[in-house]
Amino acid sequence: MRTMRSIPLTLMIALAALPGGAAQAQATSEQRVERKIAIDPDASIRIYNLNGSVRVEGWDRDTISVVATIGDPLKNRFFFGGGAQGVKMGIESPMELDQAPAHLVVKVPTRARLWIKAATATITLSGLEGGVDVSSTSGNIQFDGNPDQLNLETMDGSINITATGPWIRAKTASGTITLRGSGEDVGATTVSGDITLLSSGMRRLRMETVSGRVNFSGPLARDGALSAESHSGPVDLLLSADLAAEFDLTTYQGTISNGFAPERRPLRQGEGQELHFTVQPGTANVIVRTFKGPIFLRKK
């Protein structure tokens, strides 16, 4: 099945030639294009749009559908190609980073494997269950779904995830990362951005930053492992009161505040502090390392 509909360029030019009016100006500055083809449920889909927005929704059909609204269509071109196993689409522009904003609304089979590249474009993803890999420079990324594998990266955009999945990774430089949900293997890394993880059950969890804040709240699996590493950013762990774990906290120049097991006092270690204790049976592990960032251990 294949359908195609676009506003002819000649019509837009003709509209622009008419006297005055915002409608005409709008018609010349944007072009709307639709494409739809049948694809495999686990097809690979590559989307390339530097500026504007990309919205991808999973649906229960073996079809990919896209509605593209292209800015400055005289310079920018929407490309779309591929077959049942894979589709590639995006905006091709001689302006590259100065590409006029384009807006793509894409519907894909829920199990499709997705790859998206953007610069400033806002990316919104929902209802996806396959592998998802997104790379952006400064665009915000929002994900809501249960992915098989999720990898989101942006430099100074923010990442907002609500997900349950076996493998989740989020990375920024100065952007913030917020993750709600559960995962078998979760990683969040920033340089100066804050990390907030609101767990509804995570097994292996690694949070790393240099100067951002690290906040974790919620349960950890009985055999789970949580590690947090920071240079100067504070690490704040709000843990379930019934967590049985081995705790290993060290800060070279910072302080440790233990509200989880207040009877356990941190030991002085040079300019910093360290705290090691086990809540039996202690099958989980909580490891925190900072250089000078304060560590807060609290009970939920």
């Binding site: 390339y48 494997r113 610069a119 430099m155 100074d156 990375k171 430089a173 790393e208 070279y252």
Partner: protein
Amino acid sequence: MTCLELFDYLDRYHAGTLSRPEAEAVEQHLLGCADCAADFRFQRLLKGKTVALPGAIAPEHELWPGIRDQIRGTAAVAAGVRPRWQRTPWLIAATIALMGLSSAVTMLLTRTGNPQPYVGTQDFQSTEVGYRQAADELLRSLQAHRKELGEPAFKVIEQNLHIIDQAIQETQAALASDPHNQQVTQLLWASYEKKIDLLQRAAHNVES
């Protein structure tokens, strides 16, 4: 599995720590992707070289020239005129080369029997020089492609590199007065790795 997804698996594939389905996914991708297969062979070659080294020999004497040549060699191929999204991913190749360096450093640390070499030892200096060279090489490459990355993005990267460099300096100062502190040494390596990771990601943004 996409080429980028493969990056996260290759080190663990080499280390034999992937689950069977994950390992099969890696192999399947390598069978169908000539570029990744070539990179994989390069990594395996690097690994072979590092395994052959005695534990006390610094890795960069053996590895760095090859890595540097690989980066420069692939960089020389990069000056194509294809559309941005189709260009030869030379920085990705550089990234993989640097992953090889990271693996080599990790292997060195593991093999010496002492998890972290102390400040002032040859192992420590070699490791730090390796990280610095890797970061410098990536930064030079990135600066050459500054326009393609975009000035605002480049400034963000510079700001974050500055934050990491400050962290490195503070950690180095701490080690100067407490040279046997294993955890501070670990934090130092972690900061270097974050620097390289940031530069790698910026490289991907230019070329992917």
